[in-house]
Amino acid sequence: MRLTCLIAGTVMAGTLVGGALPAFAEELHVPLFSYRTGPYAGSGIPIANGMHDYLTMLNERDGGINGVKLRITECETGYDTQKGVECYEQVKGDGALVISPYSTGITLQVIPKASVDKIPVLSMAYGLSAAAEGNTFPWVFNPPDTYWDGASAIVTDIARREGGAENLKGKKIGYIFLDAGYGREAIPLLEQMSSDMGFELMQYAVPGKEMQNQSSQWLNIRRDKPDYMIMWGWGAMSPTAVKEATKIRYPMDKFYGVWWSGGNDDAAAGGEAAKGYRTLNFHGVGADYPFVADIQKYVVDAGKSQVDPAKFADNLYNRGVYNSMLIAEGIRRAQELSGKTVIDATDMRAGLENLDITEERLKEMGMEGFALPMKLSCTDHSGHHKVYVVEWDGKDWQKSGDWFSPDVDMVKPLLEKAAADYAESNAPWPERTEPCATN
């Protein structure tokens, strides 16, 4: 009896494995690494919905991109690097055009692999900052800004409020971060800025396991009384930090988050008391854009989305949309450059490298005012674009102040050095052989 069960089980398992063969057709495969489970799901779900819905909208409204349908697959990573690698292996052989790891940890793992397997990695405003150096990392893209741009932008904004960079001398700036590849990414730049400008940098690490219990870190913050706080939080860490900050009555208008700590749920955890909490942003907030109406019409109302109607078009959802827009525009550019509609990963790389989203194109997409024009080049895979600050008004994010540029002069040489260091410590790092495609 048990024996037959065993045999039946083996046969079933065999058929399952055998059935899992990829199918090829006239389509563009865009895999999305998402995490709708685990401790980071709070941030991961709106992102995943936004990314998925924009691409679905292109399929429904335009029949894909230039007549070729997109095949959108989601691979659940749970923000776990191990599962991310597994997802990567899974999509690698399946005609994946571009990898969006959505986790700095997974990005770090995937960067060396992708360069060998020749699949571009689009880590939109996350991942390895040094990857902006296109000559060292031809296969990795991190537009519109790197983490170092983000950190320098926050310090720039603080300096503006203090009335000049010279007034930062002697100030104390606290940095509370998720103790993982993601949170540590900004430290080298902040340390450099602190020695250049003379402010004191105080670091408060939050281990991933304890991100929902930050009382000890905030106790220290209360004791140290930093003049400003900068946060690099993600998942359950950000709402907890905002709540703890309101508990110790930290002045919220001096509390800055990077763009990833700007979820609506993150700030809402502090409620009214979190008023004034601010984060960086590089795309519009709210639903008053024509493309949002299209998503509503073709995807949400058609029941093809998983989004909770109350959370439709919130800040992180819009960011997912922005990311998908970059993917779609990269595909479009690649089609233009290669002259074929069904492109492969190599074409996609060239497309991303020559990405040039103009004001007219934004208007065409119904994204006027949602994003700024952006352009990438062979050498610059990030672009160091302008950002702005959004402020929490107790209910929603409001634009506060104008778009401004991060401290590019400061960041650029550091990026070059970091890229050289990376290539050296990962020797033999392959030399760039990909030609600079131009139109």
């Binding site: 063969l21 489970t37 749970g78 690097t81 052989g93 770090l108 793992q109 990414e185 991933g208 396991k209």
Partner: protein, 359 residues
């Protein structure tokens, strides 16, 4: 049926003491060996990279934990951390001695893990059972803390991760790093796992292994009969940690390619503990069964469910896989508490007495 032993006579002690005394077992092993050698030539890179290689590595880690928990009866929750010690020491070794063959370094790095294991095994001389589990849990947290807080361990890398450099060997074949072939890595892992498993098999059926089992079954009686608990328990910790260390080093160098400290978290420890419990405590073949089950099932479900036309979201598949694995663990613990290995040996018994099974 298949197992017809009649006519197989053992005429010497050597034949009687063989690892596989029955001819059918030997034939089976040869067949499994052939399949293992043929797989890389027929399977896809995904199958090798994401299923076979990690399965073999985790099976070795499960054998490591099985030595400690299954054979010597010392409950441990620090497996993940001991694997981490192996991985980090291998990383340090290869950055200090870049010319040395990585396979040698992987095998050496287990020694560091063994040393750490012995230190954290010292409390086992005084405390037992769940209390010992708590001290190994402390080892887990302490070592994980070290991986995060001692930057020397990861060569002051800004992101706190260890990245596997490219290493060549055996006549300029790329063994590690992103350019390494799936087949190369599979064969290295297979080689190490087979050799180490054979060595362990001979340890557990010899004097040392019997000491472990005596300690497990009744430590006072064992002591009265002349087994020294100090050497027996600490040698179990040493061998177990050595195996875990080697597995951890291989996990990073031949599978993941880079690792953050969180790769060696308590989750990994539990995963391996489940493999051991489900596979069968005190059984080497059970470790392989357990590893295949815990590692393979979610992947098969995730790749298989959409392929047979059940089109559900990625995260639903994930939830379902977790639920099925959880339900199966409970099911097996009720139906067959001795794990898959016991199921296998029952099946074998039945085949041996075919057509009149009574077991």
């Amino acid at each position: 049926m298949l197992y017809r032993e009649s006519g197989q006579y053992k005429t010497s002690y050597i034949a009687d003491q063989a690892i596989f005394p029955i001819r059918e077992d030997r034939v089976g092993m040869v067949l499994i060996g052939l399949v293992a050698l043929v797989i890389p030539f027929v399977a896809s890179d995904f199958f090798l990279n994401a299923i076979m290689t990690p399965f073999l590595i985790l099976a070795l880690a499960a054998i490591g934990l099985n030595i400690l928990t299954g054979y010597a009866g010392q409950l441990s929750l620090g497996t993940g951390a001991f694997m981490g010690v192996g991985a980090y020491s291998c990383y340090k070794l290869t950055t200090i001695f870049p010319e040395t063959n990585i396979v040698i370094l992987v095998l050496l790095s287990g020694l560091f893990s063994a040393g750490i294991g012995v230190i954290f095994g010292l409390p086992s001389l005084r405390i037992k059972g769940l209390y010992l589990a708590v001290t190994t849990l402390a080892a887990q947290f302490f070592l994980e803390w070290c991986f995060i807080r001692i930057p020397w361990l990861y060569n002051y890398n800004a992101s706190g991760a260890i990245e596997v450099p490219e290493r060549r060997g055996f006549g300029d074949i790329v063994l590690t790093g992103p350019a390494a072939g799936a087949m190369t890595q599979y064969f290295i892992v297979l080689g190490i796992v087979v050799v180490v498993t054979l060595a362990v098999k001979n340890i557990v059926r010899g004097r040392i292994g019997r000491q472990w089992m005596m300690i497990r079954d009744m430590d006072i009686a064992a002591e009265l009969m002349g087994v020294r608990p100090l050497t027996a328990k600490l040698s179990a910790f040493a061998v177990s940690s050595y195996l875990c260390g080697v597995a951890g080093a291989m996990f990073i160098f031949f599978y993941l390619g880079a690792a953050e400290p969180s790769a060696f978290s308590i989750t990994l420890s539990f995963q391996i503990l489940f493999m051991v419990i489900l596979g069968g405590l005190g059984s080497l073949v059970g470790s392989f069964f357990g590893a295949a089950f815990i590692w393979g099932l979610p992947i098969v479900l995730r790749a298989g469910l959409p392929a047979i036309g059940i089109g559900i979201g990625a995260e639903t598949v994930f939830h379902i896989a977790t639920m099925i694995v959880g339900a199966l663990i409970i099911f097996f613990l009720i139906v067959e508490p001795h794990g898959l290995a016991r199921l296998w040996s029952l099946g074998k018994e039945k085949m041996r007495v075919w057509p009149f099974p009574y077991a």
